[in-house]
């Protein structure tokens, strides 16, 4: 069952420089390179075996709250694999009209979906999208002579990336507590806002799945002190076709394409985190963006352009292009009705699942996700034990407002039969003793893994193992 490392199967050292056929003098080359040298069948078996030790969305439900793991329609892989999608970033605009058109139309789609006036596709992931948002906000304030604004307000239940991004952008983070209903505490917000406020970063529905009902008021409050309102798109899938960040008063937002539009997560990327802004912020977006060109040809043609006060780039070129192709294809397939249907099913599925499990769900009415409490049980242990029932567990121990949180998001793709299977797993674990939970998992490739040992004695390459 255990699969040896490639290096445990073979290590071949190639000496360089001492043979006749090196085209370079020795002082410009390395001495040798030692890596595994294996045949195609050996490699096929290696990676096939490794793949079989992975739980993917095609293995079963994956109800990671906030992370949002949806089934990825297979056809989007086919369009991203088209040879015509593989072009060099430095190709001329006239020879890449296809790529430009797709980007133009995707910018347009996303603008409509978010209610935003302008969109950049450049950020290669959600966190990079946040960074663009923060940099755009900074540039906007700077441009308006408000460079003194040095605070970003973030609810305490927000994603870690919000905090890290604000810090990377050079901002001081002002943490905002939730009220007893699990939403933004307006009084606390009032107290936090000041002439130093650059922005408030918000997710809506929030990480408890609750809609921030006071969003219009919140927007007014932030705008009144001259701040900007940032929308973290992690939960946009709950609102597709039913409400738009732009209509709620948000000035800038990012889209998580894997969460909202079902591009595959790839075990940790590549993602894409396009950013939409209201028109006042459009001049600050990263460069280049795509627009229709006015060359008067019969077919519309497209060109790259640099926004007037652009912040420049946050990626070498245009981010994760192949992911953008999949995103476009996904949206074009679903259309208005399909998008609205996705949010309907996502919300129905979350509510149905919550109704079927024994764990307490303290906050409601939730939308696409809910946070149950494991109560006396350790949420992390609950997760490990759920693995034994052949399903993936929810996100655990977060947000901290719910003790021993089980943050659960089944998404719209699951059938009732699968939800029932998932509920059965929750309920089986709920009835078990701590001992059973602590001993879990038992039916997985690896049993419970010692995290402390990994961190205390870091072995980060096969070279490090050789010394043992």
């Amino acid at each position: 069952q255990y699969e040896p490392l490639l290096a445990e199967k073979d290590q071949t050292r190639v000496e360089i420089g001492d043979d006749d056929d090196s085209p370079l003098p020795d002082d410009l080359t390395r001495d040798s390179l030692e890596l595994p040298e294996l045949s195609e069948p050996e490699l096929a078996r290696h990676y096939t075996r490794l793949s079989q030790m992975i739980y993917g969305i095609d293995s079963g439900p994956y109800p990671l709250g906030s992370c949002t793991m949806k089934y990825n329609p297979k056809f989007t892989e086919d369009v991203a694999a088209l040879p015509s999608a593989a072009v060099h970033p430095d190709r001329s605009e006239r020879s890449t009209q296809g790529s430009l058109e797709l980007m133009y139309r995707l910018q347009d789609y996303l603008g409509r979906i978010g209610g935003m006036d302008a969109v950049t596709l450049q950020p290669p992931a959600g966190a990079a999208g946040e960074f663009v948002g923060i940099r755009v906000a900074a540039a906007y304030h700077e441009h308006n002579g408000e460079g003194h604004r040095d605070e970003v307000i973030i609810p305490d239940s927000a994603h870690g990336t919000n905090f890290a991004t604000a810090a990377l952008g050079g901002y001081d983070v002002v943490s905002l507590p939730s009220d007893e209903d699990g939403r933004v505490d307006l009084e606390a917000l009032e107290a936090a806002l000041s002439e130093n406020t650059a922005a408030l970063m918000l997710t809506n529905p929030n990480t408890l799945g609750l809609f921030e009902r006071d969003i219009t008021e919140i927007a007014e409050m932030v705008h009144d002190v001259g701040g900007l309102l940032y929308y973290d798109g992690a939960n946009l899938n709950a609102l597709l076709g039913r409400a738009r960040p732009g209509d709620m008063g948000f000035d800038v937002m990012h889209y998580n394409v894997h969460k909202t539009f079902a591009t595959p997560h790839g075990g940790g990327g590549p993602g894409a985190g396009p950013v939409g802004v209201v028109s006042e912020l459009a001049p600050f977006l990263p460069s280049p963006r795509v627009r229709e060109s006015e060359d008067g040809a019969s077919e519309p043609s497209y060109e790259l352009f640099e926004p007037d006060h652009t912040i420049g780039k946050v990626h070498g070129f245009q981010g994760n292009w192949l992911v953008l192709v999949k995103t476009f294809a996904y949206i074009a397939r679903l259309g208005d009705a399909g998008l609205a249907d996705a949010s309907a099913k996502a919300v129905l599925n979350a509510n149905y699942l919550a109704s079927q499990i024994g764990y307490d769900v303290p906050y409601e009415p939730f939308h696409h996700e809910f946070v149950a409490s494991a109560g006396e049980q350790d949420a992390a242990d609950v997760a490990k034990r759920m693995l034994d029932y052949g399903v993936h567990p929810p996100t655990t121990k977060w947000p901290e407002i719910v003790p021993e949180a089980l943050m659960t998001e089944p998404t719209e793709v699951e059938s009732k039969a699968t939800l029932d299977r998932l509920a059965a797993a929750f309920n089986a674990v709920a009835d078990e003793a701590d001992g059973a939970l602590e001993a879990a998992p038992n039916r997985t490739t690896a049993r419970r893994i010692d995290q402390t040992s990994a961190a205390r004695n870091p072995r980060l390459s096969w070279h490090a193992l050789e010394d043992e």
């Binding site: 490392l5 071949t12 190639v14 370079l24 390395r30 390179l33 294996l38 490699l43 990676y47 096939t48 992975i54 993917g56 793991m69 369009v79 015509s84 593989a86 072009v87 060099h88 006239r94 790529s99 409509r112 290669p124 940099r135 994603h159 870690g160 905090f163 810090a167 990377l168 050079g170 809609f211 009902r213 219009t216 076709g241 595959p264 997560h265 075990g267 940790g268 990327g269 420049g312 990626h315 070498g316 070129f317 192709v325 679903l334 259309g335 399909g338 099913k345 919300v347 129905l348 149905y352 919550a354 009415p365 939308h367 490739t445 893994i449 990994a454 961190a455 870091p458 980060l460 096969w462």
Partner: protein, 424 residues
């Protein structure tokens, strides 16, 4: 299901104030799967089919069919970040092997399991420099010909710090050591050089640059890629503290700029490394097991004190790179690198024979690409070549840059013929 949740309609479950409700009319038509495929295909067919001799960070090396077939296995493609390592051992092992590949290539002890691309890796290197700097310095030195995407991204990454980016000159294609020496002082926290350089030359003064950096307590950051590293000087041997670059030269076709940020560094900086690290541990039965480790550096735990804001990275691209490298093996990688030298030399020779063309313009050794001087204006030449099916870089009024990577011998021959016709 509605009955179970006690709702008459799905709409009841939404808690959206009427004032901001949206009617769902985006104006986006739904299409069948077949129509959608046709739509995207017909759109992308508007991209001309050109033989790309472009390089400069993105290369069209042939990718063995094996890479697609294995990487497309849905377990790889559709899994999440490995927060539950007990059901993610396969992916963790792949990432561990990817890290090991980079450790071997760079000679440094640590490699993370990816940044977005070379530009963001360079940005992260600067924030690392800021965190580990031993002086109160704030200068970051980069070559004056640095690719705009890298330069601009770096500027954004340091915008929230007190670091400033300054340029030092490349002279005749490589670092002008004398000029650089004049610029380096105690205020420099990071010195960035590339090998090969953006003009395809192989840097000759890597060790001297490293000595300069070390002498002034600056972080020595080197830009390269896995194919170049297979043959050229090993970063650890020239004193590099960090290696960045685009590892997707293996594993990805030219994908309109999509990349894979390579990031390797010295063990000293272990707790300051940005991005994900996979380490070895043991499971409850004492068997070897892999897991994400040192997560306390990361945003989901350390929040605003994290070493980076990166969360989702390029794991699946790293998988592709690892498989591509494995299918080449060390002989294949070294051979591919060697051919990058000899084939570029051959092409330069052919171009140099033409009247009105001098190639390469730098009297250096070249890797994979080089700059040619053309007596006529370069831009129209490039346009003419494009009409004949070849894409090249215009890098000066009379300078064209060409790259041989991934271009077959037959196509290079046709390119030489086309070039001849164009300059005549």
């Amino acid at each position: 299901m509605l009955e179970a949740v006690g709702a008459a309609t799905v709409e009841e479950l939404f808690d959206i104030p009427p004032a901001i409700e949206f009617d769902g009319a985006f104006g986006i038509d739904a299409r069948s799967e077949r129509e959608t495929r046709r739509l995207v295909r017909s759109m992308l067919d508007r991209n001309d089919t050109l033989t790309e001799l472009l390089g400069r960070g993105h290369y069209g090396y042939y990718i063995p069919s094996l890479v697609d077939h294995l990487a497309d296995r849905s377990e790889f493609l559709t899994s999440y970040t490995q927060y539950q390592p007990e059901v993610s051992q396969g992916f963790l092992q792949v990432l561990f092997e990817y890290q090991s590949l980079l450790v071997e290539l760079t000679g440094l002890e640590i490699a993370n399991c990816s940044m977005y691309d070379a530009a963001t890796a360079l940005g992260e290197a600067a924030t690392l420099a800021e965190r580990v700097r031993e002086t109160s310095g704030h200068r970051v030195l980069v070559p004056d010909r640095l690719l705009e995407g890298r330069r601009s991204t770096l500027e954004n990454y340091v915008a929230g710090t007190d670091l400033v980016v300054e340029e030092y000159p490349l002279d005749d294609g490589v670092v002008d050591l004398e000029a650089l020496e004049g610029m380096v002082d105690e205020d420099v926290v990071m010195l960035y050089a590339e090998n090969p350089t953006v003009r395809g030359t192989i840097e000759e003064g890597l060790e001297s640059i490293g000595d300069l950096a070390t002498a002034h307590d600056a972080l020595y950051v080197l830009g390269s890629d896995p194919i170049a590293l297979s043959l050229l000087q090993r970063p650890a041997d020239v004193g590099a503290d960090v290696v960045v670059g685009d590892a997707s030269v293996l594993g990805l076709p030219t994908s309109y700029g999509m990349g894979l940020g390579l990031f390797a560094t010295r063990e000293d900086f272990l707790r300051q490394v940005p991005g994900r690290l996979v380490g070895v541990s043991e499971d409850a039965t004492d068997r070897r097991a892999y897991t994400l480790t040192l997560q306390t550096r990361e945003q989901h735990i350390r929040r605003e004190r994290a070493t980076s804001n990166i969360c989702t990275n390029q794991a699946w691209v790293a998988l592709r790179t690892a498989i591509h490298a494995a299918s080449l093996g060390p002989h294949g990688m070294v051979d591919l690198a060697k051919r990058g030298v000899t084939r570029a030399e051959d092409l330069a020779e052919h171009l140099d024979e033409m009247t009105g063309v001098a190639a390469p313009v730098h009297d250096r050794r070249h890797f994979r690409e080089f700059v040619a001087h053309v007596d006529q204006p370069a831009a129209p030449i490039a346009e003419d070549l494009e009409r004949r099916g070849f894409a090249v870089h215009v890098v000066g009024e009379h300078e064209i840059q060409v790259c041989v990577a991934g271009v077959s011998d037959a196509k290079l021959e046709r390119f030489v013929a086309a070039f001849k016709e164009v300059v005549q």
